[in-house]
């Protein structure tokens, strides 16, 4: 046998195997301890008194009212946000005007404002002791501690979600297709529905998904603006807090479990979108 000792090629763009194993182990342990453990805890605590306890918790009138409230808020805030996001992305990507960068910064602003500060702003603007708020209450249109305030707070915290997703995608796709449709005589709406919308639908869906998750889960801003009135303005996250503070642990964690299931559903849909339509989503995203 000829003794040709061909050494195996040494990979130079990766780390040695033991180090790889160590790093993978560290990452998995980190995710298990910091992300999976809290998630599992929600369900374990919810099931502390078995299925009966959960069903009893879900049939509490306060819990039901909170679920209805959260779904209603999301059903109003998310479409409004989508309309705003599409309008903002159209104006910003299809036209050139002054101060565009400044406008994009303004759209991003709610991401860096504490939700509590957002709630505070709305109370200062529409609260009973402000001029505007006093006038609105006198005309029987209260905003703070009422439904419109919660919608406004939710809109504030979810404000950049859809626009943020759409703007990079629409910049990348350019204006040529829309301009071609225009020369063929299509109207503005026809261009939007037959040319632009099919191009951005997956990015739009992605933005709506993230927006919805935040809209259903917002706590700080909504807690301040809603006044947390049971059966009237309490949403699911604020109801979780109230149950928890009353030592109704099973009720709190059951409601939290419903929210966690919604979060898992969001993650599943998001991952499916990313695997199947990665090319049509924004290449780099921050949120």
């Amino acid at each position: 046998m000829p003794d040709i000792a061909l050494s195996r090629p040494v990979p130079v763009t990766t780390e040695p195997r033991p180090i790889r194993t160590l790093l993978i182990g560290l990452s998995v342990a980190f995710v298990a301890l910091f992300l999976f453990a809290p998630l599992v805890t929600v369900f374990v605590e919810a099931l502390a008194e078995g299925w009966r306890g959960m069903i009893a918790a879900l049939s509490l009138p306060d819990a039901r009212a909170a679920i209805r409230m959260t779904l209603t808020i999301a059903a109003i805030a998310v479409p409004l946000n989508a309309v705003f996001g599409i309008a903002a992305a159209w104006a910003i990507t299809k036209f050139d005007f002054r101060a565009k960068a400044f406008l994009i910064t303004l759209i991003d602003l709610p991401f860096s404002v504490s939700p509590v500060v957002a709630g505070l702003m709305l109370v200062l603007l529409f609260g009973a002791n402000s001029t505007l708020g006093g006038w609105l209450i006198a005309h029987d249109m209260p905003i703070v501690f009422a439904f419109p305030g919660i919608v406004l707070a939710t809109l504030f915290v979810t404000f950049p979600f859809v626009a943020r997703e759409l703007i990079p995608v629409m910049i990348e796709q350019g204006r040529a297709e829309e301009e071609a449709a225009l020369t063929l005589g299509a109207s503005g709406w026809r261009i939007f529905f037959t040319v632009t919308l099919p191009n951005i639908r997956w990015a739009l869906l992605y933005g709506v998904l993230l927006c919805n998750a935040r809209a259903m889960g917002e706590f700080g801003a909504v807690a301040i603006v809603s006044g947390k009135i049971r059966g009237e303005t309490a949403t699911m996250p604020t109801m979780v807090e109230m149950f928890y503070n009353e030592y109704l642990s099973v009720a709190a964690f059951t409601l939290a479990g419903v929210l966690a299931m919604l979060a898992l559903l969001t993650l599943l849909l998001k991952s499916l979108l990313e695997w199947r339509h990665a090319d049509l989503l924004a290449a780099t995203r921050r949120h």
């Binding site: 939700p115 809109l155 889960g217 700080g220």
Partner: protein, 279 residues
């Protein structure tokens, strides 16, 4: 529709409508409320504003919010980089699940995360019991606030750094290796400098989010005034006392911090674009 010095002409329709909707919603939802807060500050006056912020309890709360956010974001900087690297470069069983799980803090409501972490780390919780013999107390101490903020901030670092690692050209690492550099040297002198702007951006985003975080922190913090009371909670307490001026004063202080960080993030991004040669 007007075309002029403010806007270059475009054949596409819909500028008036889309710009109008954008400005209307932006004004009602974002600008008017911010104006209300700043207006309140002007009415109070800078002297009184300073007087209201300048109390030991508020300084303690503001510095706690900032310090805890810094510590948690630094922690996330290290583990976020590790996770992003492992997820992009290595293939292992369960990678996709880990990748999807990184977004959990974005999807899970903060109040849910808050009560779950508290149940875990409380003295009678699973982790709390395991850590107690080591003399470590997490829930109802500042460490608990760090844990909550690590949870909240992690995806910001991972999701900012991940695309940049995907874009790295392996040729650069090969060149470095052919020139005789060992792997550790290549990582430190070739890979890390390329990732630095993304890392900084992710760090700043996590920091900005953590400073103002409320829902996940208040349950685990214990909320002892001067010790584990964060600035947003102090705003909530002042609002519950109907002391709107004091709440506005703390709110303005936090808004100033937010603006400063937003400017920092923009500066980092401009700097990194210039470094890559796009600007």
């Amino acid at each position: 529709m007007r075309a002029g010095i403010l806007r270059s002409p475009s054949p596409l329709p819909g500028f008036g409508l889309s710009f109008g909707i954008m400005m209307a919603v932006l004004s009602i939802v974002v600008l008017l409320p911010i104006g209300a807060l700043l207006g309140r500050g002007l009415m109070i006056g800078p002297g009184d504003l300073w007087g209201m912020v300048n109390s030991r309890r508020i300084w303690a709360a503001l510095s706690l919010s900032f310090r805890a956010a810094l510590i948690a974001s630094a922690f996330n900087l290290v583990f976020g980089l590790l996770l992003a690297w492992v997820l992009v470069r290595y293939r292992f069983w369960g990678r996709r699940i880990i990748d999807a799980a990184v977004d959990l803090p974005f999807a899970l409501p903060t109040a849910v995360a808050g009560i779950a972490l508290t149940a875990l780390y409380a003295p009678n919780g699973t982790f709390g019991q395991a850590l107690a013999p080591l003399g470590l107390k997490v829930a109802y101490t500042e460490v608990g606030i760090w844990v909550a903020l690590v949870f909240i901030g992690l995806p910001f670092v991972v999701r900012t750094v991940q695309p940049v690692i995907e874009e790295l050209e392996p040729e650069l690492e090969e060149v470095s290796a052919t020139l005789g550099a060992r792997r550790a040297f290549t990582l430190r002198r070739v890979v890390l400098p390329t990732l630095a702007p993304a890392l900084l951006t992710g760090f700043a985003l996590a920091l900005a989010r953590s400073v103002g975080e409320y829902g996940s922190v208040i349950f685990i913090a214990g909320n002892i005034p001067g010790l584990t009371e964060i600035a947003p909670l102090l705003i909530v307490i002042r609002l519950e006392e109907y002391n709107y001026d004091a709440a506005a004063a703390i709110g303005i202080a936090m808004l100033v911090i937010s603006f400063a960080m937003l400017l920092a993030i923009n500066a980092i991004q401009t700097w990194s674009r210039r470094r890559i040669g796009l600007a």
